[in-house]
Every structure is written in structure tokens, then in C-alpha cells.
Amino acid sequence: MSTPDATEPPSLYAAREPIFPRRVYGKFRNLKWWLMALMLGIYYVTPWIRWDRGPNLPDQAVLLDLAHRRFFFFMIEIWPHEFYFVAGLLVMAGLGLFLFTSAAGRVWCGYACPQTVWTDLFILVERWVEGDRNARIRLHRQKWNGEKIRKRAVKWSAWFLIAMATGGAWVFYFTDAPTLLVDLFTGQASAIAYLTVLILTATTFAFGGFAREQICIYACPWPRIQAAMMDEDTLTIAYRDWRGEPRGKLQKGEIAAGQGDCIDCMACVNVCPMGIDIRDGQQLACITCGLCIDACNDTMDKIGRPRDLIGYLALTDETAERAGVPPKSVWKHVFRPRTILYTLLWSGVGIGLIVALFLRSPIEVNVTPVRNPTFVTLSDGTIRNAYDVRLRNKQGTDTVFTLSVPFETGLSLELEGLSGPSVTVNANETLSQRVYLNAPRGSAPATQDRTPIRMWFEERGTTNRVHHDTVFNGKEE
């Protein structure tokens, strides 16, 4: 058996090294607890908020009603043709991520990403059941026995319940939550609901319980994209090596002469949910959750050294500190042309959406001239044009619309299958109506190639009036 030497290639594959993050106390940990509670709260509670919209509409505040093609968000109701609102929100979400990343690095990853939040929750459960870092390592190493089986079973059961609640909450956004909850437990819900719950339960359980940092490092594209959003003014988490190095253990409770502030206590490594050493510098795996800052500050307090050996720093601050120049204030990092531009773009889209929201008309019409044929000659020589009119009634009550064209055009208007110029559109429905305009023989519209026409739609009993511009095709003589 030959001894391994430098020429023998290393293994191409590496097993995941388990990570046992230690409990930590501090301001970033507290911030993360509050954000976790807030975001989990939003996720689980939102589908249960009620919102009265009248008798014909669902009373769920946030509802993606795919079956009826409606999106309800509190007082806002989005129809499929208004999907640009959703596109606008996605653009805003994208710009928001750009803004936060260029200002403060991977804050999304560290504090708000569902993968981070649920992993944090799963680690919390793990700590309750199996104890803190050292106890968990011991349990991990020991042979399977009654204690290990019991602790693993309790932990996995708790994870599974959280995972199922997560998968379950997701489907409540798509149909009436109280009804679906009963249906889910009585076996009445649709197959797609069960399948969705099953898939999301499985992914939550696997990603939060076992894959954890592997998702961030290997599966998620965002860490790679974020590198392009960062520059030398972006706040990231950094180790002040010029203060900490050379690191070394305490000698009789004192830092030995010639050594830096870092006493190599490994606190920053032990609390890291990604299993990295921040002292190696900025790296792909760092999600900037801030827990190493809390851990190090705790150590610094104990040995009586100044805090923030590890802290939020921009590259320019590092350079400044090394040169002994005071660093820029945080606000100067946050407010600079790049972030201001992102903010302007973000608010521009937002203001545009809000304006569009308030300019939406309760009556929506679309008039499409029939082009096959462009006109029909009637027996008395009248020239007739047909139009396919779509009328949307976005109100909760049936509405009568009266159609008209300006008198001076000389055109008369008829509705297919109806005797008058009025048509009823049922509540929350879209109606297609064939409309005819007749130009008497020899009249101007009958003999011109194209005449611009404005068709008016008036809601009976109100002053709501909208128009749609179209054309009348004549028979050129």
C-alpha cells in the first residue's frame, strides 16, 4: 500500500460537514428574532385576515383566485388584463434588492430570505430538543441508543409539523382559508391542494432541516448576482485583522505582548450558521447575518478589549482604518449616487403604479372593429360596420350601459339581439356584445374610406361615462 503523496489526486467529492451553531446573545441576534417573528407572522396570518367586499366577492383580504382569475389585495382588485401591476411589483422587488444589496450587502440573505428564516427556526427547535452546540455534537457522535432515537424523533416530528404548517399556509393564499382548512382535514380538498402541501412540506423539511447552507452555497443564484451589485462602499461584515492579528490564546488571562486582540476563541466560527470563519475575509458563503459580530463583542467585553473587532465595514473603511484615517459615516455609505438612483427608479415605478391604480375606471371597454368584412352593404344601400365590444363591469352590482355615437355623425347604432341601445352586464363579469353602426347611402361616413368615430358608454343612473375611439369604414365611390 503506497502512502498518499502530492501526485495522488484529491477526492473529487466532499461530504457535507455538519454545522452546530452555538446560541449567541446580542443586538443582531435580537434583531433577527424580531424579524423572524414578523416575517413568519406575516406568512402564517395573512390568509386569515378578512376584508368585506360585499355579497358577490370573497371576504379574504389577500387572495390569488386563480379559478376566477382575480387577485385580491385588501381594497385592491386586480383583473387579468391588469397584470402589469404584478409585473410592476416584481420590478420594484428587483430594484429593492439591488438597492439593499448595493447599500448594505447581503441583508436580504442574512435577515429576510425564507431559507435563512426557516433554517433559523429549525435550529431553534433543534436547540430546544437536543441542547446547545456541545450537546448536539455529543449526540451526533454517539452511537444510536434510546436517548438519541427519542431526541431525533422529537426533533424531526417538530420540524415536520412546522414544514406542514408552512406548506399548508401556502395554499390558503389561493382559496378561502377557513373553508380549505376544513376541506384539507376532511379529505374534501382538491388533489392539487394536497400535492402542493406535500411538495412544500417536503422542501421545507429538507431545506430547513438538512440542506441549510448548501442551498445558499450551491443552489441559489442570488449570491453570485449580488457580487455585481456590490462596490467598495457597500457595507459587509469584516474582521479587523489589523487590530486582531497576530491572533493567539490568552496567556494567564492576558494578551501576550506583540499579539492582536483576537484570542482565537473560535466564538465567531462556532455561532456561524454557514460554518465559515469570517477571519478569512469576505467570502461567497457569508450571508452577513451578523451573529459573529455578537459573538465576538461578547468575547471582547469579557477580556476588556474594545468591541467591533468584527463589524459592518465597507472596503473604503478598511482602507481608511488601516491608514489611520477615521472611516466614513454609515449614512455616507448608504446615500450615494448609486443607491439614490436605485431609490429613484424604485419610487418611480411605485408612484407610477399608485397613479395607475387610482386612474383605473370602474367601466372598462374595448371596441374591436370587425375587419372581415370591413363593411356590409344593406339592401337599401346603407353601409354597416360591425364592432365586437367587450364591457367589463368591475362593480358588485349588475349595471346597464347605454351606448351611443355622436348625433352629428349621422350614424345609427344597433345592438345584436337587443332592441334598444342598452345592455346589462352582470356583476363582476365581462360581456361581449356585437354592435352595428349604420351609415345611410350617400352620407359622408358611407362614402369615405375611414371616418374616426368615438363610441360612448354611459352607466345608467350615474354620470359615469367613458368612450372608446374607433373607425368607420365606408365604401369609397
Partner: protein
């Protein structure tokens, strides 16, 4: 793992030896779970080819253990829709055609079903927009001029049995004599009657010839086309006094029609379409703007 160092220092990580602008590429190992996922996809792929149609054979392919077939899916889906439409089709067959338009649901179904039947069977002659072919004898179905009647019952009868269709005893039937070709009228008489027809329809005409032509018209044409030229839907005789012409309204076109006689044929559809399809397409045609 806690005993040993969690991470190596960057200097200890092997690099591939590639350097671009001083940037080196780490040679980190792949995560092992990823390799297992890769193997799992291969196993899944093999299983998939066993479960589903996959391997090509001389004719066809292996059917797969699950018996999946997209053709069978389509057949099943069509059957599902046919079954779902069964009750409303039965309602359409039972319905009184003159009052269907008051039943919004039934009318909506008839409109859509009729449009599909029309596109498949009628567009060859009447055009995809149902406006016929002007001057070629294929009538427009959008106007208010009907050879055999434009109320819903007449339209249904015409579609059911056809026009001048020898295979249906109940088909619409009439025939205009070829006044010139068969020697019924002399050439000058034909010229006179054509001027009179032009006069009736309000076009430019020779007043002298037309006044002589009136007598010729009343003797030879009025029996079918009526004294005032308004035509007769019971005989399929077109209105000659209006603005719509089946074969063109110019002096030359009318002369040709009087000399040679022109008329079209239409097949009967009751042996090709089901009763509900005939009713649906009748309602569709009736609601294109010309229905009476």
C-alpha cells in the same frame, strides 16, 4: 468535526492553476450529495423510460408500463367535453328556435358551437367572415337581403336541406330560364329589360329603352321577381330593386344573367351534421347582423 479546524486558510485550498488578471480559480471538491442527486436522476430517467413510452421500435415505440398516451388523453378530454355539453345540446334540440335568444346560456353555447360548425363547413363558399363572394353567386350572410328568407326557421330549413340539391326531396328549388340562350327573348328585348332593371334599382339607365322594357319585364320576369322587382323568397327569386347583387349589378353582368340564367347550389347538411349542430349554426348565421 469540531475538534479539527472548520475551514482551511485560503492558501491551503488547491487551485486549478488558472490565473486571469491575478485571479486564481479554486479547485474545491463537489458536494457529495450533489453527485448522489445526479445518480438519482439517472435512475429516475431509466425508470421513466420503463414507465412511459420511450424507446423507438420499428413501428411505434415501447408503450410503457403506465399505459400513458397523449392521444388517448385527447380522446378522453374530447369525450369529457362532449359529455359535459350533452345536457345543453339536448336543450338546444328541444328548444323553440324563435325564443332561444332569450336564454343567455343556451344562446352563448349556440353562438360558440355554431361558429365552430361554420368555420369547418361553410367558410369554403361563404367566407370566414360570412360575407360571401361578391359577384360570384356566393351570398353574404351579413346583410338584410335573403334569397330564401332570413328568419331563423327559413335559415334552418335552407341549411338542413340545401338549395337545388338533387339528393334532398325537400331542398329549395327554382330555376330561372336562360332567356337569351334558349331564344325566349330577342336581343333588343333583353337590352330593354336590362335598362328597366337598372331603373328599378336606381342606377344610371336609358329612359327610352327602360320604358319599353317595362312591358317585357311584366310579361317575363314579374311572375317570380314581382311587379315592383322585390323578388320572392318562396321561389328564391332575388330582389332586383335593391343595392345587393348576387352576380353583379352592372349592365354587362345583368345582361349576362338574363341571357344565360345564373343560380347557385348548396348541399343539404342533415346527413353531415347533427340536429344540434344545424340548430347552432342556424342561430350563429342568424345573429351575424342580417337575421330577421
Amino acid at each position: 468535526m469540531c475538534a479539527k479546524k472548520v475551514t482551511q486558510k485560503p492558501a491551503e485550498v488547491k487551485t486549478t492553476g488558472h490565473v486571469w488578471d491575478g485571479i486564481e480559480e479554486y479547485d474545491n471538491p463537489m458536494p457529495r450529495w450533489w453527485v448522489w442527486v445526479f445518480y438519482a436522476t439517472i435512475v429516475w430517467g431509466i425508470g421513466y423510460t420503463i414507465a412511459y413510452p420511450a424507446w423507438p421500435l420499428i413501428s411505434g415505440a415501447t408503450p410503457g408500463l403506465l399505459g400513458a398516451s397523449t392521444r388517448a388523453d385527447v380522446v378522453a378530454e374530447i369525450k369529457r367535453f362532449d359529455d359535459a355539453n350533452g345536457p345543453i345540446k339536448a336543450r338546444l334540440v328541444q328548444a323553440d328556435m324563435t325564443t332561444v335568444s332569450q336564454d343567455a346560456e343556451l344562446m352563448s353555447f349556440a353562438q360558440n358551437a355554431g361558429a365552430a360548425v361554420f368555420r369547418t363547413n361553410c367558410t369554403t363558399c361563404h367566407g370566414s367572415g360570412a360575407n360571401g363572394i361578391a359577384g360570384k353567386g356566393y351570398p353574404s350572410l351579413l346583410d338584410d337581403d335573403w334569397l330564401w328568407g332570413g328568419d331563423i326557421e327559413n335559415i334552418q330549413t335552407t341549411i338542413t336541406h340545401g338549395i337545388r340539391n338533387t339528393t334532398h326531396p325537400e331542398a329549395r328549388w327554382s330555376q330561372m330560364p336562360a332567356f337569351g340562350a334558349d331564344g325566349i327573348l330577342e336581343r333588343p328585348q333583353i337590352a330593354e329589360v336590362v335598362e328597366y332593371v337598372l331603373k328599378m334599382s336606381g342606377q344610371d339607365h336609358d329612359a327610352t329603352l327602360a320604358s319599353v322594357g317595362e312591358a317585357v319585364y311584366l310579361d317575363n320576369c314579374a311572375a317570380c321577381h314581382m311587379e315592383d322587382g322585390s323578388g320572392d323568397i318562396n321561389q328564391g327569386a332575388p330582389n332586383l330593386a335593391d343595392a345587393i347583387w348576387l352576380y353583379g349589378g352592372s349592365r354587362e353582368a345583368i345582361t349576362y344573367t338574363v341571357v344565360n340564367a345564373r343560380f347557385g347550389v348548396m348541399p343539404g347538411w342533415n346527413d353531415k351534421l347533427t340536429e344540434d349542430e344545424i340548430r347552432a349554426v342556424s342561430l350563429y348565421v342568424h345573429s351575424r347582423g342580417g337575421g330577421q
